[in-house]
Amino acid sequence: MTNIISHFQKHDAGASPIHLHNVSLRYNGISVLEEINADIPAGEHIAVVGPNGAGKTTLMKLIAGLIEPTQGEINIFGHGPGGHICIAYVPQRSQVDWDFPANVAEVVMMGRIHQIGFFHWPTRADWTIVREALERVDMSAFSDHRIGELSGGQQQRVFLAQALSQEAEVVLLDEPFTGLDVLSQDAILRIMDDLHQDRVTVLISTHDLNLAAKHFDQVMLLNRRLISYGPAVNALSQEALIQAYGKQVHMLPGADGALILSDTCCEGEDEILRS
């Protein structure tokens, strides 16, 4: 009764949360992603790094099922992403109308509307889930604030609460740390740890290589192709970085052999693909 219009796939036992097989995407004849292969086990937290235009946002949109690959196959728990409601995708902040008349609790409740179903209204159980989600991101005190009144870090936490209330098993965060102060970054990283314990698979794109190396056990280095994928020490090796960033990366002699200075910024990332 809940899903009148669409029906949804059950998860295959033993299937990985994210499986990418030869995934390529071309847009107006330009290659955006080429032959991405990766298998991401449940509960893994992965930082996706790479220069501007590397296809980080595109990769996330593909996994979320918002766009289709030109080639290859994406499987989420054994089935194409379009059949899932267990994927939460939090785009870069600029994409939402912050003047919209909605309060924090309502925005978090939006994550549940599929579970609630057509022609139904949120029950007390739904509101309990929303309240708990807000507690987990430490935003309970702001429950009835207009979303436009929040700071960038608080807004980011509200969207994480939305993913929690959605009971998402795959969470995709596009540049969540951009423009945040250290305290807000730490708050988000703490929520990540919390998700780790629930075995929620998380993909985070960032241009901050230090942050990726420091806080994530697995790193994906992307520049149209998947250049490396693995523990930060291996994935961010000198050769890999040169391959990804080319001239943008400079090596300085450091304590452990090399210190990386990369000059990337985030504005206008992946402008080429707007869906």
Binding site: F8, G82, I85, I87, D97, F100, P101, M110, H114, Q166
Partner: protein, 289 residues
């Protein structure tokens, strides 16, 4: 006291005024409720265009003796699909595609009317409304359509909310986004049809956006925005009718003028978001520094 009472009651001793009052109240309530989505989604130009696009539909229905609502709806839905088609298939931007279809369709409507010399009067009625010419059967049709719109907005409230706030979320939650978007356009066409007799093609836009944006300045949540918008809309209708009766102004125009005046006042004095408020805040900050 008696004078005031007779002042208030007198207009509605005429049955055409009473029917006009009911019709304008239906419009005053329905328009801002759907108009809230028009305001929040930045569809004002589209709404105005759609109101003009349905003109040939109204004329054709009129000539064939059908209810004008049927012709208007068919043209409204066709135009919405056509606009989507043009902007998807070419590099032409949405607002340009809307403009092309808008002007072309409106011209077709005027051409059709001009072929019928006898109907010259009806062009002004369609353009500017004919509130005092509302018949009982018109009123019943408006009531039924209005009720259906309210029911649909209520039934799909949370889906429309997500679609308006965050279309990407609507997609990842696998909502039938295209269906919902088209449903919203159909509702818009229906509301325009309802408003046609009250304020006319040229002024429907005002009823869609003006009370709703007044309410936007005063509220923090969508349901409140809709309710307050409906309140402001119906207040504008009643006051507008009095104005029309005593000052002898065209009824559609006077309703819109009242709604605009209310907006102007709220725009000035609204707490937090009004002009006066931000002026005071800027002054205080200047004196502090």
């Amino acid at each position: 006291m008696n004078d005031l009472l007779s002042f208030l009651v007198e207009p509605f001793q005429y049955s055409f005024m009473l029917r006009g009052l009911w019709a304008s109240l239906i419009v005053g309530v329905i328009c801002p409720i759907l108009g809230s989505y028009v305001v929040l989604r930045g569809m004002a130009f589209f709404g105005d265009a759609l109101a003009h696009i349905i003109l040939p539909g109204v004329v054709i229905a009129f000539l064939l003796g059908w209810p004008y609502a049927v012709g208007a709806l068919i043209f409204g839905v066709l135009a919405a699909l056509l606009i989507g088609f043009i902007s998807r298939r070419t590099d032409i931007k949405d607002d340009t595609a809307i403009g092309v279809v808008f002007a072309g369709s409106f011209a077709l409507g005027i051409a059709l009317i001009s072929l019928q010399r006898n109907y010259a009067v009806d062009l002004t009625h369609i353009l500017f409304g004919d509130l005092l010419g509302v018949s009982n059967s018109d009123l019943i049709l408006m009531g039924i359509l209005g009720f259906l719109v309210l029911l649909t907005v209520f039934a799909f409230y949370k889906e429309f909310l997500v679609l308006s706030f965050d279309p990407t979320l609507a997609k990842t939650l696998r909502l039938p986004v295209n269906f919902l978007q088209n449903l919203l356009l159909v509702l818009l066409a229906v509301v325009i049809v309802i408003s046609l007799q009250a304020v006319g093609v040229a002024l429907v836009l005002a009823m869609l956006v003006t009370p709703a944006s007044s309410a936007y300045l005063l509220t923090r949540r969508l349901p409140n925005m809709m309710l307050l918008g409906a309140l402001i809309g119906s207040l504008s209708s009643v006051l507008g009718l009095y104005l029309s009766f005593y000052v002898n102004v065209a009824s559609g125009a006077s309703i819109v003028l009242v709604a605009t005046a209310i907006f102007a006042i709220i725009f000035m004095i609204a707490p937090q978001r009004g002009v006066l408020w931000s002026w005071l805040r800027a002054r205080r900050e200047r004196s502090l520094s």
